[in-house]
């Protein structure tokens, strides 16, 4: 993975309106490096709907189609069908949605598109809440987090939904997690997804949000790295819903990741123990899935 060639060309320009340290912005920059100019980006309501720029400006050098919050999967399906009818197989359609647009309001359209095995890449940049509307909880918000709809003692007591597993259950050709702290791994995955034409590819990108997570903007990448190093957000790939490959193995305690974020500052050592336990069990499950496939082949 190290030394993977990162293309020089950028398709994101300066002057976008992302917050300082915005992980979603870093994610787009890396993604488009791998995708190149023959890409059309479909964006439902989310922070990126704003970051992309107000009419008549655009922060991307590729076409953008903005669409309703729940519709990334469906709009991308229609766009793909039109390009196919025009005989344009070269252009890749890339849906680019937040966690709310993917885990919650858009899950129906996404599931429909994946079941039809539509030929596009669906990216969820996951900042673990509805950031555009002011940090409300989503089903991607992790256990323990405060948001504006899980405030004070009402901090979130439910687990984060496991989206990659939901997609694996669709037997999607390719599903992967990626992190803005691992650009080479991320660009490799986008490049791989781009080349795998003919079916749906899903990339779940961990994208820190300094504003919503109450972390200093300069800690954005470091905290994303800690999420991987503590196995809170493992980097792995799933092919055809069954072939699992783990890319990075973490070993740090979860507290290293949690303790430096404002959104978790109310948590106690007891809570960290509980979270450590959940993360360990999830990791164990992931290892088992990986070895299960190894036994199958």
């Amino acid at each position: 993975m190290a030394g993977y060639n990162i293309p020089d060309t950028d398709y994101m320009v300066s002057g976008h309106v992302g917050c300082p340290g915005c992980g979603a912005t870093i994610a787009m920059k890396f993604a488009l490096k791998a995708m190149g100019e023959k890409t059309m980006v479909v964006i439902p309501a989310c922070c990126w709907g704003v970051i992309a720029g107000p009419y008549p400006q655009s922060s991307l050098k590729v076409p953008i189609l903005q669409t309703a919050f729940a519709t990334a999967g469906a709009t991308a399906s229609g766009l793909r069908a039109a390009l196919d009818m025009k005989g344009d197989s070269e252009t890749t359609v890339m849906a680019w949605a937040g966690d709310g647009g993917t885990f919650d309001i858009g899950i129906q359209a996404l599931s429909g598109a994946v079941e039809r095995n539509e030929d596009f890449i669906y990216v969820c940049y996951d900042n673990e809440a509805y950031m555009n509307t002011g940090v409300q909880r989503s089903s991607a918000t992790p256990f323990g987090s405060r948001t504006t709809t899980t405030p004070g003692k009402g901090w979130k007591k439910n687990r984060k939904k496991n989206m990659v597993e939901i997609l694996a259950a669709h037997r999607i050709p390719y599903a992967a997690t990626a992190s803005i702290a691992y650009p080479e791994d991320m660009i490799r995955k986008f490049d791989k997804a781009r080349r795998m034409k003919g079916g749906t590819r899903f990339i779940h990108v961990f994208a820190t949000c300094p504003t919503g997570w109450r972390i200093p903007s300069e800690m954005s990448v470091k905290i994303a790295r800690l999420a991987v190093q503590s196995n809170v957000f493992p980097l792995y790939e799933v092919e055809n819903g069954v072939k699992y490959t783990i890319n990075v193995e973490g070993s740090r305690p979860v507290a290293d990741y949690f303790k430096i974020q404002g959104r978790f500052k109310h948590l106690t050592d007891e809570d960290f123990e509980k979270i450590q336990n959940m993360v360990d069990k999830d990791w164990e499950l992931l290892l088992r899935k990986t070895s299960y496939f190894d036994r199958l082949t």
Partner: protein, 385 residues
């Protein structure tokens, strides 16, 4: 060539002849026959098109919006609950200036579940920026779908072609299916004014702050204001090639009429009979069939209705807390027209109840015998009330 066809299949045949390339729809009675036939055309190669079997109407409209944004001719069809579910996307289509054509089968909204004729579903979407055209029979349905593409692609606005549940969607009638060569002459391949293109990247549907939003909405209205003229040009060409024409409104015995009954959809067929019967008894009555509801043909309404003694509007729909929707719009069109006649509003035939010759005769006599409307809306044919 004439064939005996269901109203639904008149739609499907027109979509085939229009050489639509991307379709997406979700099944709902009574729209199903339209999309089943189209699926068959795709499966057996009759059409060179993609039919995207989405998981909801919300997604169906989103999918055709995606396809239309790339400059492809698109189609969808729905009814009732499905149209209600699409509501959010209807605005995306019109403000996105996408020439999408949709067949909408008028059906009642739940609760209670009711699959039968009622216009409240389409009329509740009157503020979404879609052109709305209401049809009376199978031939008009086929012709209107073809005209809708010409119209939509000229003004860059989406068009809803509306037909009555069952009374039209499931009724078999002889329909002249034109040859492909003639249709090609009338409807050339779509050449989009806007289409996403990687060699000329731009953004569609992006953020529109207060400094630009109002002008964008004004542009939609400006396009709407051109529709009537463009439609008459489209109709003229249609007439030249196919020998048929309908008009945004149709006048039946209106010239010397003292009372004009305003009707839409299949009720117009019944009303023709009623008018003929009444005329044979010496009654000075006429009918105005309203085909175009959006844009509302205000000037035509003033011209045709402004000078009669009384107007009787038959609404198979209702706006709660107000009145029948066609009556409401006609009142609004006439209110600045000096000396306009009283508008009698009648609610009839909701949720699939028949609007019979007797219903319409009752409406006529009530109107004739009253000096002024007894109420904003008079509900006709209620049981146990």
């Amino acid at each position: 060539m004439k064939e005996v066809l269901e109203g639904s299949h008149a739609v499907s045949q027109a979509v085939r002849l229009a050489k639509v390339q991307v379709m997406s729809a979700y099944p709902i009675t009574p729209q199903t026959h339209i999309v089943e036939a189209l699926s068959e055309y795709c499966a057996d190669g009759t059409m060179d098109a993609r039919f995207i079997c989405v998981e909801s109407e919300h997604s169906a409209m989103a999918a055709v919006i995606g396809a239309s944004s790339a400059g492809i001719r698109t189609f969808t069809a729905t009814s009732s609950q499905g149209l209600a579910l699409m509501h959010e996307l209807l605005h995306w289509a019109s403000a996105g200036r996408l020439p999408i054509v949709m067949a909408e089968v008028n059906r009642a909204l739940a609760p209670g579940w009711n699959i039968w004729m009622d216009q409240t579903d389409s009329l509740a979407q009157r503020d979404t920026g879609w052109i709305q055209l209401y049809c009376e029979d199978g031939q008009e349905v086929l012709d209107t779908v073809l005209q809708a593409y010409r119209l939509a692609e000229t003004v860059n606005l989406p068009v809803m072609v509306v037909l009555d549940a069952f009374f039209l969607s499931h009724t078999f009638e002889p329909v002249d299916i034109p040859g492909q060569d003639l249709v090609d002459r009338f409807l050339p391949p779509f050449s989009p004014k806007i289409a996403l293109d990687t060699s000329d990247p731009f953004a569609i549907g992006q953020m529109a702050p207060p400094n630009v939003y109002m002008e964008m909405r004004r542009d939609v209205q400006k396009a709407m204001e051109q529709v009537l003229d463009i439609f008459s040009g489209v109709e003229q060409e249609f007439l030249n090639i196919f020998g048929r024409t309908y008009g945004p409104v149709e006048r039946f015995y209106c010239d010397d009429a003292r009372i004009i009954m305003v009707v839409t959809g299949t009720a117009a067929g019944t009303c023709r009979q009623v008018i003929s019967d009444l005329r044979s008894k010496g009654e000075k009555v006429g009918m105005l069939k309203l085909k175009m509801f959006r844009p509302f043909p205000v000037n035509l309404i003033r011209e045709d209705l402004g000078r009669v003694q009384k107007i009787a509007v038959v609404d198979r729909n209702f706006s709660f807390g107000a009145s029948g929707i066609f009556a409401q719009e006609i009142r609004a069109a006439l209110c600045n027209h000096p000396g306009h006649p009283p508008v009698f509003g009648y609610i009839a035939g909701l949720g699939g109840r028949d609007v019979t010759v007797d219903t319409l005769s009752e409406i006529y006599w009530k109107t004739k015998e009253s000096d002024a409307p007894e109420d904003e809306s008079v509900w006709v044919g209620l049981v146990n009330c």
